[in-house]
Amino acid sequence: MPGLFQQIQAGKLWDFHGGIHPPGRKEQTNQKPIAVLPIPDRLYLPLRQHIGVAGQLLVRVGERVLKGQQLTSAENSMAVPVHAPTSGTVLSITPHTSPHPSALPELTLVLEPDGLDEWRQREPLNFLTCDNMTLLSRIQDSGIAGMGGAGFPTHIKAGLTQPVDYLIINAVECEPYISADDLLMQEAATTIVKGIDILCRLLNPKAVLIGIEDDKPIAAAAMMAACSQREHYYVRIVPTKYPSGGEKQLIQLLTNKEVPNGRRPADIGIVMQNVGTAFAIAQAVLDDHPLLSRIVTVAGDTLNQPQNVLALLGTPVSALLDACGFQSQPQQRVIMGGPMMGFTLPDLSVPVVKTTNCILAPTAQELPAASTEMDCIRCSACADACPASLLPQQLLWYSKAKDSDKLQEYNLADCIECGACAYVCPSEIPLVQYYRVAKADIREQQREALKAEQAKARFEARNARLEQEKQERLQRNQQLAAARQQQQLASGANTAVADALARIKAKQALAAPAEERSKEQILAERELKKQQAREHQQQKAQQQKAEQQATEQHNEPAEQTPAVTENTNSKAAAVAAAIARAQAKKAAQAAEQHATEQQVTPAPNTEKSHQAEVSAEADPRKAAIAAAIARAKAKQQAQTEHETNAAPATASTANKPAAGSDIVAATEDPRKAAVAAALARAKAKKQASAEATEQTAASTTGAPEPDVAVTEDPRKAAIAAAIARAKARKQADSENS
């Protein structure tokens, strides 16, 4: 049994599973020469025309560019630049309908040609003498990306360091209608072979296999003639079957090898390049002619003159169709790409890009639109047609069920979306569409899962970091403590520590009884206080009586009494404190009330709220807005005033413990007093804020009836406000309706 290489040399071909034989319809275009389109009025150049990332813009709007001038740079290895296809002025750089199934706008440079077609400086290379790096950077800088349809950056595939056994040149062109590669081979076989020479120098393969379908006899003959001087170049004529031009299928056809799942052809020593790419490489290296144009098949029965055209990249599709005599029909479809894998265009301003091989404008008779989707009858014609040996009907079943586990088990990812299954489906189920959706769903799920995983990892890392920091802190503190201890030991300050300990003990001893007492006696003291207060009131009443009798004698009895009692005995002191507290409270309340009056009453006085009142009758919406503004203002005011109020309030409450029975503790330890004061302050603040919210609620009445609400009671005011609001809303609703 001869080895694989011998078999390949002997011209053996293999077969792949499935495949279909749709009518080719290439005779529409494959007998005519390539027409050169005139330079259009505008060129739309998407900044990204390949798989990868867009380069950095190098030109500005309004700048004049020369033919072949680089418009974007390629700093990244996955970036390839775009060039000015002719000389002209950059009109704008804006999003424009993209040549993509989604038709989502993509950043596009609009060029206005000046008609001079003036070239930049050109530097042809001699590929035999320059090194590989120069060649590769020339390929990249010339903007070459796979021209068969995928648009993968060519310099990456040409710059592989893995050993390459077979370089396969894909000239199969298996989709119906398309004859762009066919015509290119017919007219430029020698240039193509030079391009292959350059690829061979870069990759150094054992053999070059050029796969051509048997429906292109002229092209095959031209290629054979051009290759006749090369020993290890083999032109292989493969039977016409769709999708022989798929990368994996052609590899299987020519070498009987399968690309293992999840790997690339390079992993089994194979590199595949499209025949158009080889041509572009030759032009770039030998003529310093970057990728500026490409051959596009323009076909379909709605055209008077279907033909292949050489179109500048960026030429809008409308220019191509017009040049071929397009007559639109109702329900017209315009397809970019072939009838099997192409996508329909929403409008004709979409430009030709590096991967555009065909524009198809069929009549409804020629390619009837899909009719209603019927039920799957499990005939498995799809499985028989699938080139990847999948089970499309099972995949359909699981796609509909959104069972992503099963979809993965049935290898959905291996679907190349060639459309053979949908082509044969008797129920006209758009299978590929189902798979695209399912694939997108799975990708989304995986992204989500990845995100969740990353979030989890982040969370765990954070926890670990916090824990570590905590440990470090602890350790540091311990170390510091140890160091201090040592220092103290070293300085012989044992006594100081002992003193400190003793001091603490003493303090505790002192504090303990005070606390106990406060706990047990607090109730009793309170009772006492109440009694004192009652007595004091009686006294006061008597005093007031006395005052009434003799007002001239006593001008300020209330203030005098506490001062005196405080000095004389504790009872009197407590009474005085209570009075002071009450007064303080009253004062605080008065201040607050005053504040609320200030908050609300001035509001209607201001111009804005006045306007609001007026407009409330005219338009409840405006009124609502005005009310909201007024409310916000009132709130602000309230807050500022409260802050100022809070200070006296705290002062007055702070008096409470100081003046009360805790006076002993207070005098003993000013710290405790401070804490108590702080507590009291916090309480006062809380109270104040609670009141403030009520007040703000009241102030919401703003526009309709503000005055009523305020003065009486904040609660009532709130209710009134709510009623007013409801009324306003109703009015608004009724007017709206």
């Binding site: 792949f16 599973h17 749709p22 994996k248 299987q252 399968e258 690309v259 293992p260 799942n261 999840g262 790997r263 329900q331 017209q332 479809r333 315009v334 790409g337 009838p339 099997m340 894998m341 192409g342 329909t344 265009l345 929403p346 409008d347 004709l348 198809l360 069929p362 390619l367 009837p368 899909a370 209603t372 019927m374 039920d375 799957c376 009858i377 499990r378 005939c379 498995s380 499985a383 028989d384 990847a388 040996s389 999948l390 089970l391 099972q394 049935y410 291996d414 979306e417 459309g419 949908a422 082509y423 044969v424 489906c425 008797p426 129920s427 006209e428 758009p430 590929v432 569409q433 695209r436």
Partner: protein, 355 residues
Amino acid sequence: MSFKIASSPHQHNQRSTAHIMRLVALACLPGIAVQAVLFGYGVLIQLVLAIVTAWISEALVLKLRGKAVLPRLKDNSALLTAVLLAIAIPPYAPWWIIVIGTAFAIIMVKQLYGGLGNNLFNPAMAAYVLLLVSFPLQMTQWLPPLSLQSVDLTPLDAVCSIFTHYSCSGFSLSQLQASIDGITMATPLDTLRTDLGRGLTLDESLNRPVFFAFAGTGWLWVNLAYLAGGLLLIQQKVISWRIPLAVIGSLFVLSAIATLAAPDTIAGPLFHLFSGGTMLAAFFIATDPVSASTTNKGRLVYGALIGLLVFLIRNFGGYPDAYAFAVLLANMAVPLIDYYTRPRTYGHRPRSELK
């Protein structure tokens, strides 16, 4: 100007479900013609009854299910079910047999499982089994070929006997079954079965007039006609060759081995292939895409399983013919068969190597 947006592919081979079903039904025509010529016109009346019942039942259920009726009636699947059941039952069975059977097939077996494409069992065969179990007498009253019949049957007689149980001249079905010599005749398979049960040897039994050469009189031609129709379907790529080949192949091999082992009690492979419903079942019934296996390897297994079951039931079971049972049993095994016969995906290692 706005253009129509569509998903790829934009091309279709223009062969629809309706087209496929119609082709299968048309391929039955040679068999039906031979049956009508050799066994009388009963089969044609049964066909009309079955088709009408099927359409009415289908429309009724689709209406109840709130589905569009006309597009689904046009897919010809109900028509095909009706045709297959009509040619499977005895041609002079009373009219209500086929009506019950067809209605059951369409309503219970097909639509209640979710309509076309969702039924687990072959509707025609499930209905056949229902009829055979429920009405064993009516379902076994096969008339001998016209050449052996004592009374000549006109088309009108066929109508009368289907609708009134008596022919126009007043013969009952069991009287019609009697041959010229007055002996009641059943199908060849039935006759052989009874004879073998009575202790006769195979050769003795095969000398009866109901047999012709190596198969039943008339039945040989019917089977050949269905074979021709089936081959046409394979040539048209409507059905895959795998299921018919597996059915016929396994039946052939098994009966060949068995007849060598027991030449006096087990009929040879040719007898089995050209008697009863072998060709009809192998090409038209077992290949029903909905209820058959869908993988290439699975189809071979599925077909072979049917052959095995038919061989076992015919020779050792309680029924003279066995395709309905065999097909239903194999239908049950389809999910399992499909699961274990998945093809190796491109670029993946065979499943066996993964474990």
